[in-house]
């Protein structure tokens, strides 16, 4: 999952099986080439989702790519995966910049930034119990929004709460990119090989449940989506020699709080100011004043639970977000 140099591609395919003639999916979405970007976190199966989508597309004679990109972030950090699916041979090997479809498999990642580059006539497919309208309004997106409560689907299919397979179903059903039978086959083959037939069948069931439960809406006017969130990195000519950075501690601008799924609840009255939590917190998120603990800095706290584990009193307790 991790790469040495900061980012990388770990999987790449560019092939078609059968002829490129019959391409119902790509036609359905009205383009020669469809580009998909998946947003998940390490361990949630975004990359697996992209691979299975590619596998399904080959069954329809389409040309495909599936690859992922990740920074040096670690487990729990946001991860991107990509697909290109086309009627003809795909000659672009660059990362997807202007996707037709964005899939968000972790609801906590839903914010305007996921719309970066998404075409105005594109699709936003989100794992959330909320309605498409609520999502469209929330991120002000004026294209088509599809939502699915993937956790509910997994529960119903007696699967662990992994959202990638239900979201594959939602993606295919909403966009018409891939036919249901091709997706079922691809899901079945993938899981039979790794986890056996019973698990494979449950995953196919999850696809079917997702197919029937996905909700779709088109919204014309929640405002423009352009401008914002442009990547602000300097070009190579503007870099300092050696990549020198002059602002100490500038990572402060990068808020790791969104990695969290639970947070420490601090009870001042129980605390004896031993400072063990302050010593061990990996993210300097225990706030103090005059040597006394005052609270948690939720901008950076990753929710690891170390502070609660080392506290000798009952002053810190982990509780789920929301």
């Amino acid at each position: 999952m991790q790469t040495e140099l900061g980012s990388g591609v770990d999987f790449y395919v560019n092939k078609a099986i059968g002829s490129a003639m019959e391409s119902p999916g790509v036609e359905a979405i009205g383009a020669e080439l469809v580009e998909v970007r998946w947003h998940g976190r390490g361990g949630q199966g975004a990359v697996t989702g992209a691979k299975i989508l590619a596998r399904a597309a080959t069954k329809e004679g389409l040309w495909i790519q599936a690859f992922s990109e990740f920074g040096p972030e670690r487990r729990g950090a946001p991860v991107l995966a990509f697909n290109r699916i086309g009627a003809n041979e795909i000659r672009t090997y660059a990362p997807v910049e202007e996707p037709d479809v964005v899939v968000v498999i972790d609801p906590a990642l839903l914010e305007r930034a996921v719309l970066r580059g998404l075409k105005a006539e594109g699709w936003l497919v989100v794992n959330t119990p909320f309605s498409p309208r609520q999502v469209a309004r929330n991120v002000s997106f004026s294209g088509t929004v599809a939502t699915l409560d993937a956790a509910a689907v997994s529960r119903e299919a007696s699967l662990p709460p992994l959202a990638n397979i239900p979201m594959l179903g939602a993606l295919a059903a909403a966009t018409g990119l891939i036919q249901r039978s091709a997706l079922e086959e691809a899901v079945f083959e993938t899981f039979r090989a790794s986890l056996g037939e019973e698990t494979a069948r449950k995953n196919v069931r999850a696809v079917n449940l997702a197919w029937s439960q996905v909700r779709i809406g088109h919204y014309l006017d929640p405002g423009s989506t352009e401008e914002e969130n442009e990547c602000a990195l300097p070009s190579w000519q503007e870099l300092e020699p050696g990549g020198t950075l002059y602002q100490p501690g500038s990572a402060r601008d990068y808020l790791t709080g969104m990695w969290r799924s639970s947070y420490p609840l601090f009870k001042r009255e129980e605390c004896n100011d031993c400072l063990r939590c302050w010593v061990f917190c990996p993210d300097t998120s225990i706030m103090t004043n005059e040597g006394k603990v005052t609270g948690i800095d939720l901008q950076y706290c990753k929710g690891c639970g170390v502070c609660a584990a080392v506290c000798p009193r009952d002053a810190l307790k982990m509780v789920p977000e929301n």
Binding site: M1, Q2, T3, E4, G6, G71, P72, E73, R74, R75, G76, A77, L233, P234, G243, L245, Q247, P248, G249, S250, A251, R252, D253, Y254, L255, T256, W259, R260, D273, L275, W278, V279, F280, C281, P282, D283, T284, S285, T288, E290, G291, D297, Q299, Y300, K302, G303, C304, G305, V306, A308, A309, V310, M318
Partner: protein, 309 residues
């Protein structure tokens, strides 16, 4: 000498390594760095070998470091820090610099036990005045959990799988602390994150040493050791309580155990709280565990008698 190691007072200072870095939730490397650097009573120049700590704390255009910091490559953190230290000494002599400084290099076990060992050995032998800190998580975690020469016997990694043919790593780890002490440098110590005051006192002595100093610090790793993020400090504590990772120092050639567990626990208690060792609890591996216990007991006995090898 110099500053007190009073935690209450240290909370008032800017942390040497600030938030916004992208180490795993629960990772102990950042707290290790902070504890070491907080023990310094002079400005510090930091050099960092390639590894998790380096990539995750300096994602362009950000840095989490609040002090001068330099990355060069995987194999040459010690060479880089010796160059900086030599230049500093020359400029002090010429009167171009006045302020006393400390120099520290951080490397993981990959960058220290394996790839950077020859440049480290050279820098120690040349006698540069610097502190080298190995944050030892016992495998190449940055590239996806491949074994290093620090990986203990029987430990699972992606390149030492557990199955019917192999039972994790088939060889013992390299005793790097002993190898470093064979350079006869003034200060060598083994530390663990769970014993933070012991760690800071040792860092303090390392900074005060009259020549090169070396700290080998156990750094539990969430994905690599297959443990829960909240468990990292507890696992470190158990490594010390079982004497699997004994805490000692070697000052001017004199060895001293610094933390004596109240009650020395069997190694099984350390294995059972980590996914990378869980297979060892199966009955068919009893003999292997007995062998590992014996090795731990022998090492511990030797250390108590004041011998490093």
């Amino acid at each position: 000498m110099g500053r007190s190691l009073n935690l209450k007072e240290l909370t008032r200072e800017t942390p040497p390594l600030g938030p916004g870095h992208r180490l795993c939730a629960g990772c102990t490397a950042s707290a290790i760095v902070r504890l070491v650097l907080m023990a310094a009573d002079r400005p510090v120049v930091v050099v960092n070998a390639t590894g998790c700590l380096e990539v995750a704390t300096t994602v362009y255009p950000y840095t989490a470091w609040n002090m001068p910091w330099m990355h060069n490559a995987f194999e040459n953190a010690a060479a880089t820090v010796s160059g900086i230290e030599a230049a500093y000494r020359v400029r002090m002599r010429r009167g171009e610099l006045r302020e006393p400084l400390y120099f520290v290099a951080f490397g993981g076990d990959g960058g220290t036990y394996d790839i950077g060992l020859q440049s480290l050995s050279g820098a120690l032998e040349r006698g540069h005045r610097f502190v080298y800190v190995c944050y030892d998580n016992e495998a190449y975690m940055n590239t996806g959990i491949q074994r290093s020469s620090s990986t203990p016997l029987g430990s699972w990694t992606t390149t030492t799988p557990v199955g019917s043919v192999t039972v994790g790593k088939s060889t013992r780890r390299k005793d790097l602390t002993a190898i470093i002490s064979a350079h006869r440098i003034p200060y060598v110590a083994q530390c663990a994150i769970s014993h933070h005051m012991d760690l800071m006192r040792k860092a303090r002595k390392a900074f005060d040493a009259t020549g090169p100093a070396f700290l080998n610090i156990l750094s539990p790793c969430v994905p690599g050791w297959r443990i829960e993020p909240s468990d990292t400090v507890r696992v470190s504590q158990m490594a010390v309580d079982t004497c699997f990772w004994p805490l000692f120092e070697c000052e001017e050639g004199k060895l001293r155990v610094t933390v004596q567990p109240k009650e020395k626990k069997p190694v099984q208690e350390y294995f059972q709280i980590q996914g990378r060792y869980r297979h060892l609890l199966r009955p068919e591996h009893e003999a292997l565990v007995a062998k590992m216990q014996q090795e731990v007991d022998q090492d511990w006995q030797r250390l108590k008698e004041g011998r490093i090898l």
